[in-house]
């Protein structure tokens, strides 16, 4: 890995105006209720909000107009995403469809798939989930065993996915499945786009340690989907998934999950904080500022068509550490009981419980460090 030069973040158009428009829109449209929903808000489900956001043109922004998208530059989308997250907007319903599935369908999907799915995604109405993990395939994703066999009528799917975020409210799953009999590791895998109302699919909730129902087990029992469900090329699933993960690791969501707590900490401290609190605020602000530069640079590189796999992993590693450390460091210093009901206490409790997942979802810390080590020429 060569020394790092910041890739210039240079979105077209009037970015200040874009921010201002979105901020006024949020002032009117963002639900004001639950303060905890503002933390880790890209996991907060609110279909009405997603629908309204889509109608305002802030979902599917980079998709072409002919599929209902906004034909906007990826960095304009980046600006919108960071504003939404910094404001704690509940973007969880459409999050995966907008970030990953839409762009992937545009890139690898057939014309039929694009026409069928992209307009709904851009409206903030069609939701997607990612079917990668299985009980025997976590970090070792090449261990995928769910099979799809091509028959005269279409693909027959058997097997199980797990940890599937949002499967219970999603309309489609983009699944990684084994399409070649007897194939091993990352060969013989393909991606299928599965309508989740197809007979033979059972979705069972898994309740997380916060008491939330976000992820699920999904069982496939002789599920038949049409030939046209194949996305991209048969046997190229591994390559396509790796590209998909690039979109997933370096966005502003990798350092803004705990932002609501930072805002609450600063507000609770007031304009003249005690020295220890000022120190903590300063340290967190320095890290956040730095992470924002790294994340914007990586986004700019992605937008320019390059593959910043290592930089993206650096953002995820440092970002996860930051958003995970923040609640612990705040707890260590503010005077705040576990059962207190003020905003700061509620956010702190929620994030202490949610934050262990930050360095698991989207690739574990150890796996991400392995990618960086490869970039350093050590593997």
């Amino acid at each position: 890995m060569q020394g790092f030069a910041l890739y210039p973040f240079d979105p077209p158009g009037d970015i200040a105006a874009l921010r201002a428009d979105l901020r006024s829109w949020l002032a009117v449209n963002q639900p004001q209720g639950d303060v905890v929903a503002r933390a880790n808000c890209w996991a907060s489900f609110d279909a009405d909000f997603s629908h309204a956001l889509g109608a305002a043109g802030y979902v599917g922004m980079t998709l072409p107009k002919r599929y209902g998208g906004g034909d906007r530059h990826p960095l304009e989308r980046y600006v919108v995403i960071e504003e939404l997250l910094a404001a704690g907007a509940p973007v969880g319903a459409h999050w995966i469809a907008d970030r990953q599935t839409g762009p992937l369908i545009l890139r690898y999907g057939s014309e039929e798939q694009r026409q069928r799915y992209l307009p709904g995604i851009a409206k903030g109405e069609l939701y997607a989930c990612i079917g990668l993990s299985e009980p025997g395939a976590g970090s070792d994703l090449a261990g995928v065993r769910t099979t799809a066999r091509e028959t005269a009528e279409g693909w027959r799917i058997n097997g199980q996915k797990i940890w599937t975020t949002g499967a219970h409210f999603s309309h489609i799953m983009l699944a990684l499945v084994r399409t070649e009999e007897g194939s091993e590791r990352n060969a013989g895998l393909s991606q299928l786009l599965i309508d989740l109302d197809t007979p033979g699919i059972a979705i069972l909730p898994i309740i997380d340690m916060a008491g939330h129902h976000d992820f699920n087990e999904v069982f496939f029992d002789d599920v038949l989907v049409p030939h046209g469900a194949l996305v991209g090329e048969r046997g190229q699933g591994w390559k396509q998934v790796t590209a998909e993960l690039g979109l997933e690791r370096s966005g502003p969501e990798r350092y803004l999950s705990s932002h609501a707590l930072f805002v609450a900490l600063i507000d609770a401290a007031g304009p003249e904080p005690a020295p220890a609190i000022a120190t903590l605020i300063g340290e967190l602000a320095a890290e956040m500022w730095t992470l924002r530069q790294l994340s914007m640079s990586t986004a700019a590189k992605l937008a320019a068509g390059e593959d910043p796999m290592v930089e993206a992993s650096v953002v995820k590693e440092l970002g996860n550490a930051f958003e995970q450390d923040m609640p612990r460091r705040v707890q260590a210093i503010v005077d705040c009981g576990w059962g207190d009901e003020d905003d700061l206490a509620k956010l702190l409790r929620a994030l202490l419980i949610a934050s262990p997942s930050f360095s698991l979802r989207g690739g574990t810390r150890e796996v991400i460090r392995g990618i960086i080590a490869r970039g350093l020429g050590l593997r």
Partner: protein, 233 residues
Amino acid sequence: MSAAREMLCDTARAVFAEAATAGIAPVEEAGFSLLLVPEEQGGFGGDWGDANAVLQIAGVLAPDLPVAELIAVEALQPAATVSMMAGAMGQALALSIEHVNTRQQFGRPLGKFQAVQQSLAVMACEVRAVEAAAAALAARLDTVGLDATAADLEIAAAKLRANRAVGVVTAIAHQVHGAIGFTEEYDLNRVTIPLMRWRTAHGNDAYWAQRLGRQVAGLGGRGLWEAMTARGA
């Protein structure tokens, strides 16, 4: 990088390589004190992007020389030090990678052990963070015409981030080197000792954290985000 900056860097590499043994004289003779002086005043007319590039090279090759003081006015010396630190950290990482790829134990290069790989990945993240901070600070200084007051937030954030990286970077670099890295003869101490020194120079962690923390407290929670976005992209 522009052609002019590339030429400047080529010159800097030659001059600082010489200065590493000869002292600051070759740097002065080559006119680096004029780097940021406007052309009308007989200077090179460089911007902070140029200064950042040159100072990083100085941090790699001659980290013991007072180059930050030579190039920058006092108010910008913390910024200059961040660039030197980025260069020195990059060099500590380069030496570490080279070492673990060469040194064999248990029948294979150290770099093939996962524990070593993970340590170096952690170190690389810190180095990239400081490089990014130095580059973003440079962009801000160039936007505001090298006005240290207008870049107060960025200077504090970047210096604090660089200071905090020192502990991680020096610890891991020395750990993966084993005893050879602890010798006077081997090159590693030529960057790690200056890094330890720079952590205090122009304000230690506590100083910058307080300064930045009070600034941010004055902005308020939402105000921090608004200020950050108003000050760049």
